[in-house]
Symmetry: C2
Subunit: 432 residues, 2 copies
């Protein structure tokens, strides 16, 4: 069978929702949306845990604005502070000494903006906005609000017109630019940044989309760093040491799969930066839902306890489960990619993982797939009803595309099946 | 006993926390902080409700980013949408026809910013920022970040230096200005606004701080309105009709006392405005905590059901309870104020309340207290270890101060006791 490459499948066309409460059979001709990182794959683990992570909240509980009035972050619940520190100590992925400040946010999205605010104030009215950079590739869709539809490509930054259904993954450039703040502005690729003066570099490690381990690259005087460590957890990458940076961001959604809770946290060295982040969160939402905090505290505490327990009949802990699943998926994906010869995947170095106590491969949350022969990888997969996020969204060529590895089993397996069915090309058409 | 008026009591001095889980005895010499509107007074009602409003959330539930993928507000849980509409129908305080969009936010604070974003985009880079105004008096503290301490007064806008403990109530000017957005800017008192072109007027009704019922006052061409109806509930004011404005904001914290949940909602007529608000919430926090939404849905649903039920053995519903408490507090406060002759309170017209089915007095969430003889009311009360929010924070003279009426019973009673002890003045000193 030969299928024309230009016959695009609409993303809106019977997209499989990940919001379903219970797994349902996916019709074999459905469009599979793997463009987003909704981490629903961990749900079976949490289901298996039964009541162990259940929270019960009576109507009269958690009513006040305040969680810990004596603490700099007065809206952070002490039990969440404890659970976060305990988990990082058990996993060994970040320094959480008592002199570090934990700031909770409505997802790490809110915290990213809180950091920009903290690093760019105080500011004299005649000061240039603080430059914000990141090393390519990074997700870089910017939404501009104008009447009408259609799409324009731009180097390193794809501008799309307003469409409420296409969104859902704010990019660093977009989060930096959308309010046209006079405090900070997006300044592009850190590799080519050559301005004097203060700037902020966002270092995402492991990186989204390509899963690589990263360090700052601008390294100029006046630079400050934000480390987004959303994926620095044992299921995605070997834990090679405790991260010890000035400002580190983590998020509940990528750590455990609880995206609906909107809980993120920052670990911050400097008190003034921490205090200004708190101020930002006061001004933007007067704190963070206590229900979500209570639940995150419970779940993180259970994981930490399970990880710390030993003995012969100890059950598989969350990270062991997560890593087993991710390794298995990666192994299957590499097998399919190798077999059909149409694509390639990045190779990651093997490192000793302190948490697992052995050499381990990376199994990133996204697969950064490249089509051979310079073909448009995203378009090609859409032919087979697989929706991904193409390279131009990350400032690179269209032969790359990003695929979420975190969907539910059934979707992932259907994806592998369809990918395996792609045999090769003839005159710009793919063979099934 | 004679006490010097200039001997200020520090607000940080053993402030009584409202965050305590169970009522504890308040030492009789404690400072009572009534400067904030932490609505902890409703807690006994919710305690009395037992398990009726309890939510139970298993570890595997509410995991996806998505709540309702087919809905414009894809992160709004359908049960919360239903509960909000049902409650407004039962109370009769807002039009919630099916063609109105409900947008959930992390408190109405986030929604206010979402509306500013929605009304100011799309914007050409050379367009003037959209002017945002409100009719005085309104809370107008602006925090500027500079090193050091001290305080400066400014007409209509009191600027204070950075102090993490003094904050917690974002003002409209501050929310509008803190990111120095190029999209919108604060333009002051709506009464004196005389610029041509597009602008936004925020109408808070009943008003904070003075409890008055308000209408838009600028009424110029190109004006758009945001109606903040946080206090338009039967416990605070007679419900005289269904509010039917373009953009209406409500918040769970003032409606039921659940401030810790950070749930607010907007009722919006225009689809494009609603869609841009959704976009703002995506970019600032990728949605709103589902745990908080689930709990708000449960509690609002129980209230609506209780309000709709009739019959001889029907229990007191939440608004009947709230109104009884608030009326009682106001009666006692007016009695004390009348007796000691040092202060005065606003008088509110009596209206027929559609919800209660009878003529009713207003019992606002804040008392807008005025000291006679032009004395500084806030300072005077601080002498008696009562911390309030003085007139200059609202752009008016210091003989006014705002007092929260929503503290726990014990605090409120202690406040009345202390207020009753103030007998009169002699040479600028108050007599006990």
């Amino acid at each position: 069978m030969v299928v024309g490459i230009d016959k695009a499948v609409s993303a809106a066309d019977s997209v499989v929702s990940s919001a379903k409460k219970t797994p349902t059979a996916i019709p074999s001709d459905s469009v599979i949306n793997l463009s987003r990182g909704d981490p629903t794959m961990y749900q079976p683990y949490w289901r298996r845990m039964g009541d162990k992570c259940t929270v019960v909240i009576p109507g009269h509980d958690l009513m006040s604005y305040f969680s810990d009035p004596g603490n700099l972050c007065w809206f952070l619940m002490p039990e969440l502070d404890d659970a976060i520190r305990r988990l990082h100590r058990v996993v060994g992925n970040a320094v959480v000494d008592d002199d570090r400040y934990i700031i909770v946010g409505t997802g790490s999205t809110q915290l990213f903006q809180a950091v920009l605010f903290a690093l760019s104030t105080p500011q004299n009215p005649d000061t240039e906005p603080l430059s914000v950079v990141a090393a390519a590739p990074f997700y870089s869709v910017l939404i501009v609000f104008m009447e009408g539809g259609s799409e324009m490509g731009g180097k390193g930054c794809c501008r799309v017109y307003y469409n409420v259904f296409a969104l859902m993954e704010p990019s660093y450039p977009e989060e930096t630019e959308f309010l046209r703040s006079g405090l900070y502005k997006w300044a592009g690729d850190a590799y080519s940044f050559d301005k004097d003066g203060a700037y902020v570099e966002v270092v995402t490690s492991p990186n989204n989309p390509d899963g690589t381990i990263r360090e700052a690259v601008a390294n100029r005087e006046g630079g400050k760093l934000i480390h987004d460590l959303a994926y620095y957890w044992p299921q995605y990458t070997p834990i090679t040491g405790k991260a010890d940076y000035d400002i580190m961001l983590f998020t509940f959604s990528k750590a455990t799969g609880h995206a609906g809770s909107r809980i993120g946290w920052a670990i911050v060295k400097d008190k003034q930066v921490a205090a200004k982040m708190v101020k930002y969160i006061e001004l933007s939402s007067i704190g963070v839902s206590k229900e979500a905090q209570l639940r995150a505290a419970k779940i993180l505490e259970v994981i930490a306890k399970d990880c710390a327990s030993s003995g012969p009949d100890k059950e598989e802990n969350f990270f062991e489960y997560g890593h087993r699943l991710m390794s298995d998926r990666w192994e299957k994906l590499r097998e399919v990619v190798k077999r059909n010869g149409v694509f390639s995947l990045p190779k990651y170095p093997r490192y000793f993982c302190n948490f697992k106590g052995k050499d381990t491969d990376s199994s990133p949350a996204f697969a950064w797939l490249k089509a051979k022969d310079g073909l448009n990888c995203d378009n090609l997969l859409r032919e087979f009803k697989i929706v991904t996020r193409g390279g131009p969204n990350f400032g690179v060529e269209s032969d790359y595309t990003r695929i979420s590895m975190l969907s539910v089993d059934e979707e992932f397996n259907l994806f592998l099946e369809r990918l395996a069915a792609i045999k090769g090309t003839r005159n710009g058409h793919y063979l099934l």
